[in-house]
Each structure stands twice: as structure tokens, then as C-alpha cells.
């Protein structure tokens, strides 16, 4: 008989409560983070998106107290970080790994020494360090680079070393501050795959901030959008992509899936303009062609794509429907019945 024990501790790995970070400069007072409350669940990949200056870095840097919050509390694994200092804080940091946009490796130390540094911070006995470093290097695929200096590595390789260093002490959380923003698209993808693997295999909760919606779409389970220090929208990545509410959210999504129709094309259209959103495994083409057959409506595809977000399809199509008014209305009602969303962008002229 096999018994599966599900030993889950808190479901919430990170609890951010009314967090604010105010910067006092000579000229002015800047609210980097403005009363943010967020819960991040154990084992998820949580993305925070926003333009430059939105407060993403300030927020994520508060999570390991690189930045001291002005007010609010941060609980990680049920430990109130904001109450810690000195040795206690350092011990807590061992369990919160962090990687950075510019990697920040020690340039005068070899890759081996860079990773060993993190283990020494945890006071690992020196006879165990070698084995652990080699294990980590293998995990990030850099075993043969152990005695090389950072200057001899590519950006992607440096980030892999950063990841190995961050994971050295088996943290429960990995914070990523624009970890792929300095990398080319291919390298970005390989780092994202590595992060996903780490998340799955080691069950490490990942918080990543980025200004690239693509990154979030690729690996995040849930996300938040930040503007002026505040979280303006949060939820499942899939839901946000299919139902964005805030204008800024829509703007970010349009950077990945754009439905702009040139004005010149717009002016030639006479029919009803609709945006149809299919969620999940709906036979999208089937629904559309059925509609065309059932009603006396002519459909014109203007734009469309199927995105896979967390391995779930999200189809969004822009169509012009031509036909009698009530036929078009009935067609729309029919599409709605097929579990699709229809948004009328413009009534027929």
C-alpha cells in the first residue's frame, strides 16, 4: 500500500501587507512602493509587470530587505522579515535567492568561487562545498566552466552562474529582478526554461519582475501590473490576457498580441466589427464556419492569433460581419453560446 502524504506548509509563501517604500531625496519625496498588498502562493511563478519607474525593483528588493520598507509587513514562509536584523536577517536571506539584470558576479573570482561564496555564507563545511558547487554547476549546465572568470562568459552563462549562486542554499524563494532584460531573445528563452525547470523540480516559489509581457506569458502562473508604486491589477496570467481591465494592462497585452487595424483598412469596412475571444480547447474555426453557414452572414477575418498561455489556448480574432442587422445579431448570439466572448467594436455603418 502506498500512502501519499501531502506535506504542504503555508499555502502562501510570501505575504506582502500594506507595503510602502518612500525615497527621500534632496529635491523631493518619491513613493517607490505605495501601499501594496499581495499574496504569493507556494510553488507558483509570480510575475510583476510595469514600465520603468513603476516601483517593481523597489518592491522586489523589499522582499529580502535589500531595501528597508518604510511601512508594512513582509512574511516569507511565515517569518516576519520586517522584524529581523543582523544574524537573523542573514539567516533568512539564505533561504531567499536573488538574481539580477546585470548578474553581479564577483569579477575577480572564478565561477566555482562565486558559487562557493554563497555556501560559505551558510557556513557549509569546506569539504562539502566542492560537491555542492559541482552539483549546482551541473544543474545550470556549466560544469566545464568551473575555473573560468566571469569576464570569459556570455550574458546567458553569467546569469546561469547567478542562478546557481542564488540556489546554492536551497532557498524556498527565488527573486528575479529583470533577470532576462539584458539578454537576447534566444538566451532569454533558455533562461526562462531553466527557471521553469527549477520551479517544477525544486518547488521553488519564483517572483520575477519584468517590463516584457512575453516573459510573463511564457512562464508565470499569476501576475500583477504595477503603475506609480501601486498594483493596479492582478490575477491568473491567462485571465488577465483574456480579460484585461485596466488601460495599462491592455497596453501591455497589446505588446504581445496586437489587434491594431490600420486606419486605411478601417475606412473601407462597412460591416460590424467584432472581437471574438476563445478560451481553451474550443474548435475555433469550427464555430466560425458553423456560424457562417447557419446565418446569412459573411465573415471577414481582419486579424487573429492563437496564443498558448500556460499550455492553454487563447484565440483572439477580429472579424468584420456583413449582413442584415438581425442576422448579424443572431450570429453573435450564437457565437456567445459556444463559450466564446464577443465584443462589438463598431456597429455596421
Amino acid at each position: 500500500m502506498i500512502i501519499y502524504l501531502n506535506v504542504e506548509r503555508s499555502e502562501k509563501m510570501i505575504q506582502i501587507q500594506h507595503l510602502s517604500k518612500v525615497y527621500q531625496t534632496k529635491e523631493k519625496v518619491v513613493k517607490g512602493v505605495d501601499d501594496v498588498s499581495l499574496d504569493i502562493e507556494t510553488g507558483e511563478i509570480f510575475g510583476i509587470v510595469g514600465y520603468s519607474g513603476a516601483g517593481k525593483s523597489s518592491l522586489i528588493r523589499c522582499l529580502n530587505l535589500l531595501e528597508t520598507p518604510t511601512s508594512g509587513t513582509i512574511l516569507i514562509d511565515d517569518v516576519n522579515l520586517t522584524k529581523l536584523s543582523g544574524v537573523k536577517l542573514r539567516q533568512a536571506r539564505l533561504k531567499i535567492g536573488m538574481i539580477f539584470q546585470h548578474f553581479y558576479l564577483i569579477s575577480q573570482k572564478t565561477i566555482f568561487e562565486n558559487i562557493a561564496f554563497a555556501l560559505q555564507a551558510a557556513k557549509m563545511p569546506s569539504n562539502k562545498i566542492e560537491t555542492r558547487v559541482m552539483e549546482l554547476l551541473e544543474m545550470v549546465g556549466l560544469s566545464e566552466k568551473r575555473d573560468v572568470y566571469p569576464a570569459q562568459l556570455s550574458g546567458g552563462q553569467k546569469q546561469r552562474v547567478g542562478i546557481a549562486r542564488a540556489l546554492a542554499n536551497n532557498p524556498s524563494v527565488l527573486l528575479c529582478d529583470e533577470a532576462t532584460s539584458a539578454l537576447d531573445p534566444n538566451t532569454t528563452m533558455s533562461i526562462l526554461r531553466l527557471l521553469k525547470k527549477i520551479n517544477k523540480e525544486l518547488n521553488i516559489t519564483i517572483v520575477l519582475i519584468t517590463h516584457e509581457m512575453n516573459v510573463v506569458k511564457e512562464i508565470c502562473d499569476r501576475m500583477a501590473i504595477m503603475q506609480d508604486g501601486k498594483v493596479i491589477e492582478e490575477g491568473q496570467v491567462y485571465d488577465i490576457f483574456s480579460n484585461p481591465v485596466q488601460p495599462l494592462t491592455k497596453e501591455f497585452i497589446s505588446s504581445v498580441v496586437s489587434y491594431e487595424i490600420p486606419d486605411t483598412v478601417m475606412s473601407t469596412l462597412a460591416g460590424t466589427l467584432v472581437k471574438i475571444t476563445f478560451k481553451g480547447e474550443v474548435a475555433m474555426e469550427g464555430v466560425i464556419s458553423d456560424t457562417m453557414q447557419k446565418y446569412r452572414v459573411k465573415g471577414n477575418f481582419l486579424h487573429g492569433s492563437i496564443e498558448y498561455i500556460q499550455e492553454r489556448a487563447l484565440g483572439i480574432f477580429l472579424m468584420e460581419l456583413q449582413g442584415e442587422c438581425d442576422e448579424v445579431e443572431q450570429a453573435i448570439a450564437y457565437i456567445l453560446e459556444q463559450n466564446a466572448q464577443v465584443e462589438v467594436i463598431r456597429q455596421h455603418v
Binding site: 535589500l66 539564505l94 553581479y104 564577483i106 575577480q108 561564496f117 554563497a118 555564507a121 572568470y149 527573486l175
Partner: protein, 222 residues
């Protein structure tokens, strides 16, 4: 004007003076390293925004460092006579001169260490903090290695200054090349000796600069 046999005749004096110069700058450099390096680290790490931030310590140390650095060396030489007497027992000779040379070199080198550490990307220090490393570990494994190359260049500069200052110490009977230049070149109008001493100083400075640059480049892994 250049009399080779005269120089050969004074060779023992020249070698002795050269030895004294090396002795003086050797001692003061060692002391500057031993005291100036920790002071420089203290100045850097207790500064605003750093991991040992401490306004009081930083301004007190900074204040004394500035005071000493603003006093012209020749005045420091005279002002430190009582201290020299206390430490060495007498006020002439290379050992005595080493006291004021050290006092001058310590704050100079401390500032060089501080400035060298300022060149380190703050991100590298923060990344080290985020691993949970202790201040001591960060100083030892991040600050010092990352600024090593720049500190070596600063050390070169300190040495060259010490050579110049040690020549000045000759004025107050400190011994060394400077002393030789004054006794023979200045008081006895002995041009040959004057030229030789200047040549020795030039060669010494060039060698230090060359060596310093080479070592600094050699150990830099960037």
C-alpha cells in the same frame, strides 16, 4: 663637472643612503598597509547606504584623515618630532624619519582604498548581501578582491609619494638619498653627487611605476 672617480670614491655613502631610503619607505609602506587598509575599509563600509553605515565613525575617521592630509609634509615632519622621540627614542636617522612618513602615508593610503572600493558596482555588493553573507565575508571576499587591482595602483602612488617625502626627510636629518643630496650637493656644491641622487630617484620612481602597473594588470581578471 661629472667626476666618475669622485662618485666611485663616494660609492659606499651612496649605497648606504640608498639602503636607508629603501628602509624608510619599506617601513612606512608596511605601516600604511597595516593601518591604512583597515581605515580605508572602515571609511568605505560605514559610509551612507553601505552595510556598516555609521555616521559617527565615518565622520570622526574622515575628519582625522583630512586633517593629516591637509598638513604639508615638511610641517608634519617638524610637528611630529615629540612623537618620534617617544616612539624611536631619537629624532634623526631613517628610523625617526619613518614615523612621520608613516603618519603621512596612512591617511593617504586609506583614502586610496576608500576610493578604490567606490569603483565597485554597488550591485555586486548587494548581490553578496542577498546571499546572506556576513559583513566580514563581504569585505574579505568581495570588497578586497574587487578593488585589489585599483588598490595596487594606489599603492604604487603611495610608494612614489613616499620616495619624494623620504627625500624631503633628508632635510631634517632623516638619512637616505635626500640627506646625501643635501650634504654633498647643496652644502658642498657637489654637482656629481646631486646628479647621481636625482638619477637614482628617477630610476626608483620609474621602476615602482612600471612594477605597479604590471602587477595591477596581471592580477585583474576582468
Amino acid at each position: 663637472m661629472f667626476d666618475l672617480s669622485h662618485i666611485m670614491e663616494l660609492m659606499p655613502d651612496i649605497t648606504k643612503a640608498f639602503g636607508e631610503t629603501l628602509y624608510m619607505i619599506g617601513i612606512s609602506l608596511t605601516i600604511a598597509l597595516i593601518i591604512g587598509l583597515p581605515l580605508g575599509v572602515l571609511l568605505f563600509t560605514t559610509d551612507k547606504g553601505l552595510f556598516l553605515e555609521n555616521r559617527a565613525i565615518n565622520s570622526v575617521v574622515g575628519f582625522f584623515v583630512n586633517i593629516i592630509r591637509s598638513i604639508p609634509f615638511i610641517i608634519l615632519l617638524v610637528a611630529l618630532i615629540p612623537l618620534t622621540k617617544l616612539i624611536v627614542g631619537n629624532t634623526i636617522g631613517p628610523a625617526a624619519a619613518s614615523v612621520s612618513l608613516s603618519v603621512a602615508a596612512i591617511p593617504f593610503f586609506a583614502r586610496i582604498v576608500e576610493t578604490s572600493m567606490r569603483e565597485i558596482d554597488k550591485g555586486v555588493i548587494e548581490a553578496a548581501i542577498s546571499t546572506g553573507a556576513s559583513p566580514w565575508m563581504i569585505i574579505w571576499n568581495v570588497l578586497l578582491p574587487e578593488s585589489k587591482s585599483s588598490i595596487i595602483q594606489g599603492l604604487t602612488l603611495t610608494l612614489i609619494n613616499l620616495v619624494a617625502y623620504s627625500a624631503m626627510a633628508g632635510f631634517v636629518g632623516g638619512g637616505g638619498i635626500g640627506d646625501l643630496a643635501i650634504r654633498f650637493g647643496y652644502y658642498r656644491y657637489d654637482d656629481s653627487i646631486m646628479l647621481v641622487t636625482v638619477a637614482i630617484l628617477i630610476v626608483l620612481v620609474q621602476l615602482i611605476q612600471f612594477g605597479g602597473d604590471r602587477i595591477s594588470k596581471m592580477i585583474d581578471k576582468r
